[in-house]
């Protein structure tokens, strides 16, 4: 197991109601796990706990068997990388500068990225189809392009697990499809992936297993095809949801009366 989390809970200081509790999750190499749930159910907080950026109020997260709290930031960064929902820079760094930073956990304190980092940066940008942006200012490219740049940085960081918080939120329809194909390719090469999404379709298309977080219910984890039933989805989102199967694809439709 690359990551295993047992009985995770998180509550904000001074508040009785936990954001979530009793959450267990483990991820093996090459596996894709999706976290589904409505707004405010604690998906991003869960990801931050898994990445060691927030301390859970209950339970432990282990990376390759070691408690995450016992690892240095650099050791964690060599094992996992998190791509947040959105990110703004203050400085107008070039895309090249931003992507090269991914080498940080592999470099000594006084080292700066060299030829190897430059090559990895070019390769990563080419893989994501944004090689032409290498000298553009990160602050001047679109939200979707920024997300791709962040993922390029993860490729340069070369962790074993990539955690993505709503990776498709800023992507257009074609880029969403390309992105799903890319994640599948990366997983096939051994990278473990955890991602959140607001599109159950993406879980159905991509995830081996899915964790469903619904308000007021314990989280449920299972093989995507088995756990994502109309009943579970309807309960999680609080609206009637139907799954439509056609030609090997499954689409998810919310049935809200408009009258």
């Amino acid at each position: 197991m690359i990551l295993s989390a047992t009985d995770l809970g998180f509550s904000y200081a001074g508040r009785a109601m936990p954001v979530f509790s009793g959450t267990g999750l483990d991820v093996a190499a090459g596996e894709v796990v999706c976290v589904l749930g409505p707004n405010g159910v604690g998906k991003s907080t869960l990801l931050r706990c898994l990445a060691g950026l927030a301390a859970p109020s209950a339970g432990t997260v282990r990376l390759e068997g070691q408690p995450i709290a016992s690892l240095s930031r650099a050791a964690i960064a060599r094992l996992l990388a998190l791509v947040p929902q959105s990110y703004e820079t203050v400085f107008a760094f070039s895309v090249r500068t931003v992507v090269e930073m991914g080498r940080a956990p592999h470099l000594g304190l006084l080292d700066a990225p060299g030829e190897e980092a430059a090559r990895m940066t070019r390769d990563a940008l080419a893989t994501l189809g944004i090689a032409h942006l290498i000298d553009a200012a990160y602050s001047e490219i679109s939200g979707g392009e920024r997300q791709l740049v962040q993922i390029a940085r993860v490729l340069v960081q070369a962790p074993k697990l990539m955690i993505l918080d709503e990776p498709t939120a800023h992507l257009d329809f074609a880029n969403q499809a390309r992105f799903l194909a890319l994640v599948r390719r990366l997983a096939a090469s051994g990278l473990a992936v955890i991602f959140t999404t607001h599109a159950p379709d993406h879980a159905l298309a991509l995830a081996d297993r899915t964790l469903v977080m619904s308000p007021g219910h314990p989280p449920e984890l299972g093989a995507t095809g088995e756990i994502l039933t109309e009943a579970v989805l309807s309960r999680a989102y609080g609206v009637p949801i139907r799954l439509i199967r056609a030609g090997g694809h499954v689409a998810c439709v919310a049935e809200i009366e408009t009258g």
């Binding site: 703004e88 203050v90 400085f91």
Partner: protein, 341 residues
Amino acid sequence: MPAQTSKPKRSLAALLLVLLPIILFLLSFLLGRYPVEPVTVIKVIASQFLPIAQDWPPVVGSVVLDVRLPRVLAAMVVGGGLAIAGACYQGVFRNPLVSPFTLGVSAGAGFGAAVAILLFGERYATQACAFVFGLLAVAICFAMNRFFRLNSTIALVLGGVIVGSLFTALLSLLKYVADPNSKLPVIEFWLLGSLSSVSTADLVPVLVVTIPCVAALLALRWRLNLLAMGDEQARIMGVEVARLRLAMILLSTLIAASAVSISGIIGWVGLVIPHFARILVGPDFRRLLPATLSLGACYLLVIDDVARTVTAAEVPLGILTALIGAPVFMLLLGRGRLGWA
């Protein structure tokens, strides 16, 4: 518009940033009331390292080595030091309005200097007190942050505002009780900033602190890029943020405090030179820090040259830096890209 300038343009900028301080350094020895030939300047300086027969009057040697050398070096060290400390502070705090004085170094140093002027009236005491109280002000900021468990850089900057006004108030109190005929003018003049009476002995402790700190900042400068991405991003990339930030602030504060201890309060350089350098070489700290160092050194050297040549009664540097700099940078601001998103 691309964030990076083309390669030939960049190497030209790099060459200029190396040559300019050297040229200005040598030219500055020619300025002053006692005329010295350029060849003689080079010979006098070289004679310190090479066996060169002395064919110049002793007074020339004294003018070059004892009067002009410490002053020229001091201007470059103070200017370069304040500028690089300012660039570092702006990166750490991710804020374009931050300067090396933001956490209260200048207010603390001003108070320290006034205490020393009132109690001892002796220059070394003034320099030492300014340095110590400058550091103390920043230490109080950090202690406050730690005590109230505030974990944000905004809280640290606000702490700097509070500590700054506290020391400014204490300084005003000292000015109020100081003898208006003897002590008060000395305090006021110190606060305006000047290098007019710098000697080699004053300069040595400043160099001992500044050179290693600047070297450390330059060695760590790529890590400043990571820190400038923000705490969470830096953590994701494996940076121990709190430790690195503390190290960066400590190094730049030591530089700023030792600069202020010898020059008095010279504002502006640490705020504006980093912006100017960013227009020239972009926001990447790998190029930005060396560029700010060079430009800061050149800028204050030119200002000090103007101060000691234009008028017989020297205009304080704190006044000149802004008076000459403001229109120049207003022009640049209108024309250049700032390198901030």
